[in-house]
């Protein structure tokens, strides 16, 4: 019954592509200062320079190096993606597990709340809140998490309900294990792969939304962000600069999102026994 999820993911085509893309983006973000000699906000040359040995992707309208900004923009995207994924995952686990374990009225109320929240489009609420409050990265992470957790909570609750009735949990309960002990020692470890799938899904949506919001101009003005770069570049689309300003930024963003999509798809296929290819684990 035990499936080696890691193996399933990194040996399938989509999984390999997805993981490769993610590793590439994370490396670029972490090693940003080593990969470029400039600071993202520094003015490094004449405006609108074409790509050259000094400026790999040329410069923008105020002479900032685009390649440098692309690298540092990865940090913002990944920070928002990771932050939202972790925070909304915590909320999902908290609500999903507690509903499944406590049951009764609390469960019904919480699920009602989840049903209500799930139909609210998060980006719209984030636009509203961020327009009034001063937008910054932390606020953005909190806001997006507040509207992304319900989907995960539903999945976690369903899974916990089924795990709750399994033999090991039942046995632990006969030995007098408390609810918290059950939760941390038996249920959460078994939720593992599903939680990772949720993290990937939430991170993907968060990266998407962060780009969209900063494209609208809703972002921390001091932070470099891909969405903001694209919005900025779109204003100069009548010049030739879009070839090395707009397109690389868009493609980097798309590749990051695709990295999450492909990894998530591979993991989902591995998690769903009906979708999993028989040949994939027969030789195990």
């Amino acid at each position: 019954m035990h499936v080696n999820y890691w193996r399933e993911v990194h040996t399938t085509g989509p999984g390999r592509i997805g993981l490769g893309l993610l590793i590439l983006v994370v490396t670029a973000a972490v090693l940003a200062p080593l990969l470029t000699g400039y600071q993202p906000a520094a003015y490094t040359g004449a405006p609108f320079m074409a790509p050259s040995a000094q400026h790999w992707l040329g410069t923008n309208d105020v002479g900032q190096d685009i390649w440098t900004r692309l690298l540092y923009g990865a940090r913002t995207s990944l920070a928002v993606g990771g932050g939202v994924a972790l925070l909304s995952l915590c909320l999902s686990i908290l609500v999903g597990c507690s509903s499944a374990l406590l049951g009764g009225l609390y469960d019904r109320l919480m699920m009602r709340l989840v049903d209500a929240l799930i139909v609210i489009p998060p980006v719209i609420v984030a636009i509203l809140a961020a327009a009034y409050l001063r937008p910054n990265t932390v606020l953005l992470i909190v806001l997006l998490s507040l509207f992304l957790w319900p989907g995960g909570a539903r999945v976690v609750r369903a899974q916990t309900l089924s795990l709750k009735e399994r033999m090991p949990v039942y046995a632990a309960r006969t030995f007098g294990a408390g609810r918290l002990h059950l939760l941390f020692n038996h249920i959460i470890p078994d939720l593992g792969p599903i939680l990772i799938a949720l993290i990937i899904q939430d991170a993907r949506r968060a990266v998407f939304m962060e780009a969209g919001l900063s494209f609208l101009g809703i972002c921390d003005p001091t932070v470099v962000s891909w969405g903001k770069m694209m919005q900025h570049a779109l204003k100069f689309v009548y010049l030739d600069v879009w070839r090395w300003w707009l397109l690389p930024t868009g493609f980097t963003l798309s590749l990051t999102v695709m990295g999450f999509t492909f990894t998530g798809f591979a993991l989902e296929t591995a998690l769903n026994p009906r979708l999993r290819k028989e040949a994939g684990h027969a030789d195990n």
């Binding site: 989509p14 009602r112 709340l113 049903d115 209500a116 929240l117 799930i118 139909v119 609210i120 489009p121 980006v123 719209i124 609420v125 636009i127 509203l128 809140a129 327009a131 009034y132 409050l133 998407f208 780009a211 969209g212 494209f215 609208l216 101009g217 809703i218 694209m230 779109l234 689309v237 879009w242 707009l246 397109l247 868009g250 963003l253 798309s254 590749l255 999102v257 695709m258 999509t261 492909f262 798809f265 769903n272 009906r274 979708l275 290819k277």
Partner: protein
């Protein structure tokens, strides 16, 4: 004789009653709660800001251009000088009257400004929803029933590739390629201004402008329906009734659509409701890229001009549209799946 009549009547009445109660209990409360959450947020977020409520709601720029009489009138209309509870009641009451406040940039009631832009957004979103669901379903069924074969692999790969592009970047690429590079389609707007088209020419002009934004939305939004249909299709094709259909010699195409496809449709319709929320957000961005005169462009303008009441009004109207569509889909779903209406 009389007994017979009664037994015939009772189930029908029960059925109608049950159908109504299913919708009442399961959906309507959810939508009311969702609406209340949105209304409360809409109400409280501006009031969390320091300072006078009028200043917080309308922003400093707006106050500068407003006449004192208008300020006085707005304060009075929304009871802004009263305690918070009364303000909330007054806010809800004015919403019931359809009063969303005053847009200082357009110097007109917010609802009136929005109603001029809403039809375009509804047209774009509605068409995108229908087309992406239909095409996604069709491709999903074809792909799921050919799992692992070349066509499935190609479809899966290319559609997942499309889904990685954010809506607005897809829009930008289409715009650059078809609009700027090939000059096939107009770069912005929804109709050619002052062209005075009528009848078929008007429709053709409309479609000409609509093609690119619609294509961008459909290409990106196709994936969710496609992936869901494909995986449900794979699961359904493994069920016993498919084997029965095959055993009795049903043609392949009929099994694919009438047996498996019909059952696959159920989760797809459920998901379409959730999809719609994402679709609306996507439409906003795509409209901005194409300067399509819908709510997205209006929202962008209101963000740039800091016209807060207009912005809050747009977001409220969009949320109400999303909730309504979800409610309609729920009704549709219980019609589509008789089990839902019967079991609860």
């Amino acid at each position: 004789m009389q007994e017979c009549v009664q037994t015939r009547h009772v189930p029908i009445r029960n059925k109608v009653f049950k159908k109504a109660s299913v919708l009442n209990k399961a959906s309507i409360i959810n939508y009311v709660v969702a609406l209340l959450i949105i209304l409360t947020m809409n109400f409280f977020i501006p009031r969390l800001m320091p300072g006078d409520p009028l200043q917080a709601i309308y922003g400093n720029e707006a106050l500068l251009v407003m006449t004192p009489e208008l300020q006085e009138e707005l304060t009075h209309r929304f009871s802004l000088d009263r305690p918070l509870g009364e303000q909330y009641a007054s806010y809800l009451l004015s919403l019931c009257r359809g009063d969303l406040g005053h847009s200082y940039y357009y110097n007109a009631p917010v609802l009136k400004v929005i109603s001029g832009f809403l039809p375009w957004t509804l047209l774009l979103t509605g068409l995108a929803l229908v087309i992406s669901t239909l095409v996604g379903f069709f491709l999903g069924v074809e792909s799921g029933s050919r799992r692992g074969r070349p066509l499935d692999q190609v479809l899966l790969g290319s559609i997942m590739l499309f889904s990685g592009f954010p809506d607005f970047f897809m829009g930008i690429m289409l715009l650059l390629f078809f609009g700027v590079f090939l000059s096939l389609v107009p770069l912005s707007g929804a109709l050619t201004p002052y062209a005075g088209h009528s009848g078929l020419m008007l429709v053709a002009d409309l479609l000409h402008h609509l093609a690119l934004p619609l294509a961008a939305l459909v290409l990106v939004r196709l994936t969710a329906t496609y992936l869901l249909t494909r995986s449900t299709m794979i699961t359904t094709l493994g069920e016993a009734f498919i084997l029965t259909a095959k055993a009795k010699g049903c043609p392949e195409r009929i099994i694919r659509y009438r047996h498996a496809g019909r059952n696959t449709l159920l989760p797809v319709v459920t998901a379409a409701g959730l999809q719609f929320a994402h679709l609306v957000t996507g439409t906003l961005f795509v409209e901005i890229v194409f300067s399509y005169p819908g709510l997205g462009s209006l929202l962008y303008k209101s963000l740039l001009t800091r016209d807060y009441p207009l912005m809050a009004g747009i977001l409220l109207v969009l949320t109400v549209v999303v909730l309504t569509i979800n409610l309609l889909l729920d009704v549709f779903y219980s019609k589509l799946d008789p089990r839902v209406a019967k079991c609860t």
